[in-house]
Subunit: 341 residues, 2 copies
């Protein structure tokens, strides 16, 4: 059988209380005893039984990450997994474990959440935004008083704890970059008119440009299905505008759009970045095959995950902590499709 705390106690000639205190670094144990117990633990190759510890302590040092884990999710939404890795990194540093719970197969919205809370198999809950859309779920979490953080603004007001990325700010970064490079005639090709993220980026972009006295003409704002073809056509149309109206820089709302835009530019025979510049949000998934390598407004979602991990650990110490904020700063990855500043 495995070595237990009693074996160590017997070998070291002390009580199990003392071994336990050494284990937990109590300062009341004499250096000599500590030393002796440590030696025995090392010799017997003793590791505390995590099951017993968590039971005795009434906590698990485990955090549950609630999200959709269906087939192909990893290809559709790798960001979610990058966030998860960020969460993991912080938890592991503090000796916490991370376990996964899938929400995609729930028959009713609170199912997974209530199970995790009532089973006490975790001390806290990290919920990926896609998994919490209902007020009902929010109420459940709130009324249980269970430590939690939602990654992604819940979409409705509540006293839930959440963090999110600021897409409007990313739009402003895109604008600032163009302004710093002196591109005063600019265009924006976005996703569908109904796409929330696309609209936030567009709004941030237009707003910041206006702050600098630059107006984006209606014909320089395009909406697409984010497919290569529609993006190509949107860009082509803009590039064929009369010289006075033709944009000198195109902001692509995502890398799929950038693929189409880059082809249109290529087919129009324009030189990048001298005759036309462009940049894109998000390096994933397609920025790697765009030639020349584009300038990118990127968001470090791993870091957002790490922050979520930090916050949950702080909440465990101080349950009344309320965090509701946009945390992660966008960053510009300078490519060859805009002039360096």
């Amino acid at each position: 059988m495995a070595v237990t705390i009693s074996d160590v106690a017997k070998e070291a000639g002390v009580s199990i209380s003392t071994v336990s205190k050494v284990l937990n670094n109590w300062t009341t144990i004499s250096p000599a005893t500590t030393e002796r117990v440590r030696t025995v633990m090392a010799r017997l190759n003793y590791t505390p039984n995590a099951r017993a510890v968590s039971f005795a302590r009434q906590n698990t040092r485990n955090i549950v990450y609630l999200t959709a884990l269906s087939k192909n999710e990893a290809y559709r939404n790798p960001h979610m997994f990058d966030i998860m890795c960020g969460v993991y990194s912080q938890l592991a540093k503090c000796g916490y474990t991370l376990s996964l719970v899938d929400t995609s197969e729930d028959t009713y919205p609170c199912e997974s959440v209530s199970r995790v809370i009532s089973q006490k198999c975790a001390d806290a809950l990290i919920v990926h935004g896609s998994a919490i859309t209902k007020q009902e779920t929010a109420d459940l979490i709130l009324s249980s008083g269970f430590p939690h953080i939602i990654i992604g603004h819940p979409g409705f007001d509540s006293a839930l704890c959440w963090i999110d990325t600021n897409h409007g700010l990313a739009g402003q970064y895109a604008a600032m970059h163009l302004i710093n490079c002196d591109y005063t005639k600019a265009a924006f090709i976005g996703g569908r008119k109904t796409d929330v993220i696309s609209n936030q980026r567009l709004k941030g972009f237009i707003g910041k440009m206006r702050d600098y006295g630059i107006r984006i003409a209606p014909e320089c704002i395009g909406y697409t299905d984010s497919g290569t073809l529609e993006s190509y056509q949107a860009a082509e149309k803009m590039l064929q505008l009369p010289p006075s109206k033709r944009p000198l820089a195109i902001v692509c709302e995502n890398s799929c759009i950038a693929v189409g835009v880059s082809r249109a530019i290529h087919d129009c025979g324009l030189k990048v970045p001298d005759e036309i510049a462009f940049l894109t949000f998000d390096s994933f998934p397609y920025s790697g095959i765009i030639d020349p390598p584009p300038t990118i407004v990127d968001i470090d979602v791993y870091d957002m995950g790490a922050q979520a991990g930090d916050i949950i650990l702080r909440k465990l110490k101080n349950p009344s902590l309320l965090v509701q904020s946009y945390t992660t700063l966008p960053m510009i990855l300078q490519g060859k499709t805009t002039h360096p500043i």
Copy 2:
């Protein structure tokens, strides 16, 4: 405080043993008692404390998934996460939980493995292939007798339990597809000469073609860095061969290569699939932007994960079970770059 088994026992007027037996579906409890206890449990909203259960049972019903969880891993290797989702799906069905352990920050190879084993915070270990490269780690797992499965052939002989995908077989599938469509002059553009997967696919492809009496000429086998440019050039070179030697179908070892090949075909003005056909392995990451949508030899790694989950559950019941096999069948996703059969 939370409702415990004693509360239920008191309310139902039975002993905690009886409640426990109802909980665990013992057949020795009378229907009447069972019914009464169940009613009380429902009324009090009782859920067993998972910590206490796992401690009393001496098992956790938790499985650890050991892998690299570093930043950007989700973009570089989404397959690993898809496998993980497959694993999860099977474990969850049987009431097991899945927790994550990162190996990317280990200072010595067995560190994470030995920690998991000695802490007893899991009943079994699923190790992603990338995380186990050393004989040393294999020895540790084997000598501990800890239930495990490695996803991906360990690369050395051992008594470890593992499953893997069969890339050679996928190569054969590609060959069969071309043979069925009557493409008797075919080419293969692969990754680097040192790339293991690329070579296995190539070998399977050539072997099966030979079985049907078709030899692939040396000038119809290309190696690249999997970049768009080199792939473009490799394809261009083949397409410029004299008509007697020019391939009628090109097999691309991955979707990055397919992007370059598809552009080369486009620039040569050849009609797909009438004048030239092509197919690619792996839908991820770039097959979505290739026009027309390519025929793909795809591998369902989610299913491989699900099988790993099944196997580990079987091993928990029968620890002597040894599984070493290639499990997942490739499948052909018919696109518009080859004639349908």
